[in-house]
Symmetry: C2
Subunit: 169 residues, 2 copies
């Protein structure tokens, strides 16, 4: 089972590709970021996000995508720009028939730290140690995406796929 973890944002979207054989066999195949320039138009950012997701889907044929849940921030403009990015990404995943799930940042972090707390640095260190990775191979911007991928794997095996409808997008 391949899970694509995605932490969407208009300027820097983190992603991870997780291979899961069973609850105790989780391997990180790839992780990284899709970056956009600060001055690029939103349309150009969305084109690049959509294209980046397309490449990942073609390369890894994921079964599931696990996205960070949208937060209702205090700044409505920021929340709406984040939703633009989510819309472009989810549309592309759905076109390819990849089922999309969402989890809160805290729920995702709990899959790594147990407490749901911890800085990006701490979580990156933990991930590198648990999954035998070189810490330099875990870009900080991708740690949330890795946590999201592992979170979906855990939920899938602990609750069963039929009990995850509340997380479906």
């Amino acid at each position: 089972m391949i899970i694509l973890g995605i932490d969407p944002a208009i300027r820097c979207t983190g992603y991870s590709v997780i291979e899961v054989k069973n609850v105790s066999s989780i391997r990180i195949l790839d992780c990284g970021v899709i970056k956009n320039k600060p001055k690029d138009l939103h349309s150009e950012c969305l084109r690049r996000l959509s294209g980046g997701i397309n490449e990942l889907v073609h390369h890894f044929s994921p079964d599931y995508a696990s996205l960070e849940e949208a937060f209702y921030g205090k700044n409505i403009k920021t929340s709406m720009v984040l939703s633009l990015a989510r819309g472009a990404i989810i549309a592309r995943l759905a076109e390819h028939g990849v089922s999309c799930y969402q989890y809160s940042p805290k729920t995702a972090k709990k899959s790594i730290t147990g407490s749901g707390r911890g800085s990006k640095e701490q979580i990156a260190t933990l991930i590198a140690s648990i999954y035998n990775l070189n810490i330099n191979d875990v870009p900080l911007d991708a740690t949330d995406a890795i946590a999201l991928g592992i979170c979906h794997a855990n939920f899938y095996f602990s609750l069963g796929p039929e009990n995850l409808t509340e997380y479906l997008i």
Copy 2:
């Protein structure tokens, strides 16, 4: 010049296809809606919106898209769902190299009524009369999209394309 007018929404997106030869020769080639079922998952709605836009682009090869500007509504959840739809639509248009512009509902309506006011019914009647259409061929849900298309044509010719950067998405 072909302009695609789009009034985005997750459940019912209005569209129009406008052919413009010059400021006094505007023809409505097509208009309608992309509808989604009330209970469909957001991912399915976004897939259908993206696919619908794709078909329109393939069929009409528009030069420009004119979208309704996102409003910062009181209900942040509604505004964020609208942004999901916009994100899926804009990403697809950008992939095809269609330049995307946005205008407020009032600005768009002014292109038809002068005052920027008027119900959907009144605007549909005006559009049918000005553009020699059967009123039954102007679905109410598409009137805003028609106004958006005509608005971009008017701005393009009155201000010049080089002066429309503030409307670029």
